[in-house]
Subunit: 249 residues, 2 copies
């Protein structure tokens, strides 16, 4: 394995709407791509319902297993938003009004509009650090290695910029994709050999049907560009021998 | 809680490409919607990498916790497709050529095309039952309460029809959505009261930004239509009192 320090993370998607199929989660790929660019590899994703005990148990396990945990969902003003109170219990902290968050929302809303429902959004675990929200005011928060973000994808995306400096990653994970006009079974054996000769590089094979084209994308991932280059040339060698066409995708 | 028999399932998404953010998973919502229609509630989703030990450990836990487990991904012909061999180890079964699957693929391909790479796809746990694949030949399989499907969304979808009779669900989970031209904080307290008075109904609140409209969808879910109707009228009552507009979405 590579000698670079590995930094990993888990993503915990909180929300009945994902489990019921009503809502298509897109936050996983947003977070995973962003984390990759910071040199953090996502090791696991879990989707759990809006149930306190399950959230607490899962979070306790993930925060001890991974360097970072990112939660999405459950930090809004309604009864089914129970992430903040669950996180307070995980860390054995008081669940209380966060003064800075209160000030932010008090000035964000017009006078008289910062009602009881909205005030629920400033209740957080004691000592939580805010994650600022440039889109809709209400901040997320972090405590220890757990970062709590909202479920609405556009708001979540807008908050990542302000979070970047809080994440210390390892070597960025580099990747290269080779797309071929072939089917997986034509290249499976050759690709296995390349993987066996390059055990510390992750080689994935993904069939695609795209814009009328049928093919396979081979994705090579590593922290080390020269190892990627070596795999790339081994793959292009058998591709050329088999007279397989390389395509854009 | 309702006295209906509850049937639940877990979904296990197997694939580095989801964890890296390269591929956006859509199979979760496909499976969840389909399972809901059969009266099976999805309790949990996990995404794990293409690593045998993790797949085995996770599957062992999920199959004992849920009535059904559905896996997606990892049943193709390449080196990173290790679902079948992992499932064989989970059930302490031989990993061997499935005769019926062999015949299916032998006749699916032109003479001479059923090569070694493709033959990998008929290696399955001993005694596996096939899940037929009307799109691309290679079948999935089930063993005990674990159902193994491919990762390519269009192929997965095409296989669900043939699987329906193998799943015994409970009462179908019904749902009703009320979309409002409001923000969550305006209705949070009233909605909390409705939830407290209807503890065995699941009420979710989801802000939306769609086609220039900003609003909140309230989703009521239960196996019991009359309970949904009761919640619905309680919600419409406070909506009318607050002069909030109901909108189509």
């Amino acid at each position: 394995m590579s000698k670079n320090i590995k930094v990993n993370a888990a993503i915990l998607i909180i929300g009945n709407e994902i489990l019921s199929g009503r809502t298509q989660d897109t936050n996983t790929s947003t977070l995973a791509n962003w984390l990759n660019s910071l040199g953090v590899k996502v090791g696991e994703v879990r989707v759990v319902p809006d149930e306190e005990k399950i959230i607490i148990d899962t979070l306790n396990l993930l925060r001890k297993t991974y360097n970072y945990v990112f939660t999405t969902g459950g930090i809004g003003p309604t009864h089914d938003d129970i992430t903040a109170q669950s996180v307070a219990k995980v860390f054995n902290k008081k669940y209380e009004i966060h003064k800075q968050a209160f000030k932010i929302l008090e000035s964000y809303y017009k006078p008289g509009e910062f009602n009881e429902g909205r005030q629920k959004m400033v209740w957080m675990p004691e000592d939580a650090e805010l994650i600022l929200n440039p889109t809709s005011g209400a901040p997320g928060f972090s405590i220890d290695n757990v970062f709590c973000l909202p479920g609405v994808p556009s708001i979540l995306k807008s908050m990542l910029g302000g979070l970047k400096n809080k994440i210390v990653g390892g070597e960025p994970i580099l990747s290269q994709t080779i797309s071929l006009k072939t089917v997986e079974s034509e290249i499976a054996n050759s690709l296995t050999k390349v993987q066996e000769q390059n055990k510390d590089v992750e080689i994935g094979s993904y069939p695609f049907f795209h814009a009328g084209k049928l093919g396979v994308s081979i994705v090579i991932r590593s922290e080390n560009q020269s190892k990627i280059d070596e795999c790339n040339s081994q793959i292009l060698k058998f591709v050329s021998e088999k007279k397989i066409e390389v395509v854009d995708r």
